[in-house]
Symmetry: C2
Subunit: 352 residues, 2 copies
Amino acid sequence: MSNLSIPIAVDAMGGDHAPRREVEGAALAAEEFGISVLLVGDEELLRRELKRYSARHLPLEITHARQIITMEDDVARSIRQKTDSSVHVAIRLVREGKAQGIVSAGNTGAVMAIAKILLGTLPSVDRPALAAVFPPLGGTRTVLIDVGANVDCKPEQLRQFAIMGATYSRLLLSVSDPRVGLLSIGTEQSKGNELTREAYQLLQQLPLNFVGNVEGRDLYNGRADVIVCDGFIGNVALKISEGLAEAIQHLLQEVFETRFPPSKEGESLPREALEAFSRRVDYSETGGAPLLGVRGVCTICHGSSNANAIKNAIRRTAEFAAAGLNEKIEAELKKLEIRVIPRHRGRPAPCA
Amino acid sequence: MSNLSIPIAVDAMGGDHAPRREVEGAALAAEEFGISVLLVGDEELLRRELKRYSARHLPLEITHARQIITMEDDVARSIRQKTDSSVHVAIRLVREGKAQGIVSAGNTGAVMAIAKILLGTLPSVDRPALAAVFPPLGGTRTVLIDVGANVDCKPEQLRQFAIMGATYSRLLLSVSDPRVGLLSIGTEQSKGNELTREAYQLLQQLPLNFVGNVEGRDLYNGRADVIVCDGFIGNVALKISEGLAEAIQHLLQEVFETRFPPSKEGESLPREALEAFSRRVDYSETGGAPLLGVRGVCTICHGSSNANAIKNAIRRTAEFAAAGLNEKIEAELKKLEIRVIPRHRGRPAPCA
């Protein structure tokens, strides 16, 4: 993280437990990593909240925003009518160079739309995409892209997702030659739906380490470093994973509590093992999903994020900014534009 | 199970470990539930395999089939060229009334296609669908339909899936008024993709307990009894769930083995708890996925099915047949055809 002095802007009003978790997460990031944070939201509320932490020595500041976009707000309307929302103000700080990037646990649709409008997209990108990193159960931290920024995608978009995802994996996860897979329902090229069959052709032509179709189970066995899919599928995949991991944790607790009542001697041992397990499947360790393809660093977290998730998202956002991820993505896309066979050839020149 | 004397046909040659697991599963089903089974495949091989069990007293018989469709076989070609395959022979037994239903762990695409061709679809069904029952982590056994029989579905197909799924939940899982959800990426009606937004309108009009959009996580928290989706999404969802559940079991074993080395006193306690847990998330307990909408009972299992999965699939298949599931689905669809607003109105009559 090269530039710790330029702060990360945190939309402190968006999450389900705002501003408590956001402020706590910011304090943790400042304390543990020395990252400067601009907390954006209702000044009085944030000042009160900050008092809960011995934060005077920490690099935390507040920028006032008088409006809040809620989870229930209509995205289109809130973008137009709440232009002084904490999301708007935080993203403007990024546009003006006063913040290196933004973290929000607010209304995902609104954050994505405002980021696209205020920051703009990279010249070679049709549609920005959300990239999520899955917990490394199979030893590999697999990137799934897109997890919800776009639905009803075109094959060309999946091609761009592949390039953005591979650049992300290389720069942020230090994978030297990421294996890129296409999420489908069978490994053979002919398997899948209309979208994946067409996208397969395009991905094959890229100078990437394309490993062909992968299946749902391959998110967890390390078969690919980057998995590309339509945002509808990706969002369902992410939420199933989170839901199942949570359900399994509850079930485990239940099973173990029946067998190891707290009074029993040695009860701390299984508990400790359970906690070690929980940390491994915990999505809050992965630190939110970056919106790749916009001109600026924007990380989107779950509405239900805890302070740990916010803290990790702030750290990741600082890493994105330091790595110059967007510049590298743009360069990669430009380079490849020349190499890949153009999809839409121009009309033949008129006969002389 | 009313009619134990008519056997269930088991394609004994299809699975990854055929015919060993199929024969063992059949022997278990015969032993535990008294179900008669016709093992279909290479007679000599099956006879040899049967010798491993003290099966003389069990209601097991062999029907010879001289060909095998492998997982690698091209579906279209194998349907035409291997008409004496164990799949063909087993399904013909169902068509001829010599078997109540068929269980196969073979090439899913081939089994579905051959079932559709040889058995035909119910008059009111456009496209048969695979229904999977998820492990009851949230207390509810949720049915996901379709998990891979159809891709690029039309809204009308999702309407039929809803009716078939609800009938299944009512008859086989004893849910009196199943809550039917539409798998999407947000609970609001406007969220989702083109398909789900159109399907929402159709599902709303059905006289079913439609609970609106549900999300990936709702597969595990009991919010719906039946969840409807396109087969591409459903297949990805199922495989993610299986993959994650498996990965978590491995991880747990690893975590506990580090902390409870076998020599340690009391080591059987955590092991026992782990086993109790494994049974709860085990997909082999759910007994395969029925192909709903064909004229006959056809259950499709994973290629990697173990004997327990085959045994449970045989039991479920006997239950399907006994419940007259297909007849009930047909009656339900017919009844609803009259009630729902027709989608394609005829052309306006020409002016007089």
